[in-house]
Amino acid sequence: MIDLLLVSILASVLALVALALIALLAGPPAGGFVYGASAAASAAVAALATLYLAAGAGTPLALVLPLGLPWLGAHLALDALSAWFLVVVGTVGAAAAVYGVGYGRHTDEPARVLPFFPIFLAAMALVVVAADAFTFLLSWETMSVASWMLVLANHREPGTTRAALVYIVMASLGTAALLLCFGVLAGFDGSYAFADMRADRPEGWLAGLAIALALAGAGSKAGLVPLHAWLPLAHPAAPSHVSALMSGVMTKVAIYGLVRVLFDLVGEVGWGWGAAVMLLGGISALLGVLYALMQHDLKVLLAYHTVENIGIIVAGLGLALSFKAAGLLPLAALALTAALFHVLNHGLFKGLLFLGAGNVHVATHEREMDDLGGLVHRMPATAALFLVGSIAISALPPFNGFASEWLTFQAILNGDRLPMWPLKFLVPVVGGLLALSAALAAACFVKAFGVTFLGRGRSGAAMRAGEVGPAMVWPLAALAGLCLAFGVVPTAAVALLSPVAAALAGAPFPTATDGISAAEWLFLIPLDPGRSSYSGLVVLALVAGVSYAGVLAIHRLASNRLRRAPAWDCGFPDASPRTQYTSSSFAQPIRRIFGSFVFRAREHVEMPEPGDFRPARFEVEIKDLAWAWLYAPVERLIAFASLHLNQLQHMTIRRYLSWMFGALIVLLSVVALVG
């Protein structure tokens, strides 16, 4: 019966592949059917995986299909970790697919999107259930190439082709690193099945090499600083439902790869690596949110927030690795649960926000926030749902973002139990980075929501916008509902995650419910009830009660006399909407504080002479340091190398023979010395 579960999941994946073929043959008229059926298949995957987790995720299910490499076959397996990521892939995938039913009609060239969308979903599901390196990498590459094609769907927009080029280069590099990582894990004569890798784990510097390669490979896909620079280019360039998948789900699949290698295949990871991973996460979180604050394109802003949230997740993973290395297994389970819970949460609210940005784009054909404004009056449903997503990503109760970040901070606050002195100092530093980035994220979403939806429209398009159809509102509502549900009852997610924590951290989630009866589902109590506890439901009740009381009090006590007065009348009666706060002016204080170093921000003010009628100009120039410090030198190196290696193409026969002779001599010498 249990095997049936894995087979059903595979059948759903196969159905997605079949849908891609249908889309290819039938073309755009079949759009509604393809998206609808993709949604059904994704929902089925999510439901089956949830079923497996809810049943306690007993023994892992394994299946070997006679496909792929002849001596290896295609190993597929479903364990607790895979099931959890299948839930994420399926849930957000289903919402994005339903959204596609409505949004697909608004895309310029639907035939460029339709066949690759189901393939993309199928590949992400397959990566998660793959149980050998070959199947894993094949699915991973399919995922990259499918998403690359989807990024190229809007190829007529300026900048898209460059974004796609940068993306495919980074994706290839990442895959190469993962390929080498699996090579190290398999060893010289090992097999590429994950089960064999587990049986024969690398030790010493080989394990370190595998970890570093996994960090480079999966980290570049997930968007870890400094390998993130492709992400804010590629994610926004795709159609919005694809952006939601890329940011909400594909980065999570990368996190899956990281967790699979770090917690499962390598096994023993030293605390030094835990510290490094944690620090990388903290830096990614802070830089991601700082860059996000500087953006004035709504989708680019959301993409940079993905970098931030990946940083939070990775910091949690690093913390879990450190706790595990120190033997503090319950704390490791806590940190791991927090990170994996945030994986789901980020998928939910980032999907919601990208779909909301898609609605704004459909209604106004505008992504530039400084040309939007006042949309709350014309798109009330989208505005309300976008607000839910903004609150959730800003980690405010009672939504899900708060629950997982709260759990992460519970783990950080217990960092002083670590016996290693460097970690005792590092953990609070990372905690500070995460706290700072959480506060900045809230500021950033005040800006994103305020500039886009509040105030008055800054352009004709924003003034004329109207609400989008219900097919493009309901998926957002579903995601918002899930954000609220997991925020109110976080214990449900934690319960689903307990088999994962037990398998990978070596201990179950440390729930302390002694003393408080029947509190298991209501209160989230890690470690000690005297120390910390959280109940989303109670907070929700409190917030609702206080708000209701506040509204009641205002209506009862305040004067209800109607007054009409001109708005924006600070000495300038017919103010243009351009006098409103823009996104850049909102971010200016932060740009002043961090700008000169982190962004290389330069402000140019051009004041005309008195009597000159030219307008004064104010320009801000911002750079992503990763470009200047990492990508530009690498690019120069490659250009240099290719220029000089080019001469190898034009050698004489005698020179070629000499090189071959030299190579032969070197190899023979190696054999003579080693053998």
């Binding site: 034009h650 004489t652 000499s658 032969l664």
Partner: protein, 221 residues
């Protein structure tokens, strides 16, 4: 009566092949190169014949005969003819750094011995020494190919490399005869092709110094 000496005599022949390889590296006159090559082929033929006797493996006599007829007689005579027809018999090649090349050749022999002897501890002495010498001859042939600029000398380097292959093949017990046959045949084909090329090159460029060919490609080098 020679049973006690089989190792020494096999060694003698193989070593003469190697010594003659060094001679090839040193010799600058084309006729001299051809004569040394003929001598080397003769030594290979003797080595094959001796192995046929020592291993009591009569098929190797055929190998010896092929080496003697084709490589010691037909090919050198044909080359002699070609060189005369091309009027390059008086040319002295300008080979730079002969001493360095010879020293490098000695290093290659040392490398071969270091490589082969530890790897073949389970084989008999005959095979071991023979393989080491054969590998050295092979590498020296390659070295000659890259250190010379005249096309004839380069081809002779290639042919001497092939002598090394034969030397290795006859020293190993039970090597299928068809291998030696095919190697001999391929050398013959190579010889014909090379011979034709010499005339074509000469026709076009008035020289057999491949240096001029390189310049003619119109590219930097």
């Amino acid at each position: 009566m020679l049973r006690g000496l089989e190792f020494d005599i096999a060694h003698l022949f193989s070593s003469s092949v190697l010594i003659l390889s060094f001679g090839l590296l040193y010799q600058r006159r084309l006729f001299g190169v051809l004569q040394i090559y003929a001598l080397q082929a003769l030594a290979v033929a003797c080595a094959a014949a001796w192995q046929a006797y020592a291993q009591a493996y009569p098929q190797l006599y055929v190998t010896a005969a092929i080496a003697l007829v084709f490589k010691a007689i037909v090919i050198p005579v044909a080359f002699h003819h070609i060189v005369l027809r091309l009027h390059i018999h008086r040319e002295i090649e300008t080979v730079v750094g002969v001493n360095m090349t010879l020293l490098f050749g000695v290093a290659l022999v040392a490398l071969s011995i270091l490589l082969v002897l530890p790897m073949t501890t389970t084989s008999g002495n005959l095979t071991r020494e023979n393989l080491a010498l054969a590998l050295s001859v092979l590498l020296l042939g390659l070295l000659m190919m890259i250190s010379r600029r005249n096309a004839v000398s380069q081809v002779i380097g290639f042919l001497s490399l092939e002598n090394g292959l034969i030397l290795a093949a006859i020293g190993v017990k039970g090597m299928p005869f068809v291998v030696e046959m095919s190697v001999a045949f391929s050398v013959l084909v190579a010889f014909i092709v090379f011979g034709m090329f010499f005339f074509r090159i000469r026709e076009r460029f008035d020289t057999l110094d491949v240096h001029y060919l390189e310049a003619f490609r119109g590219e930097r080098h």
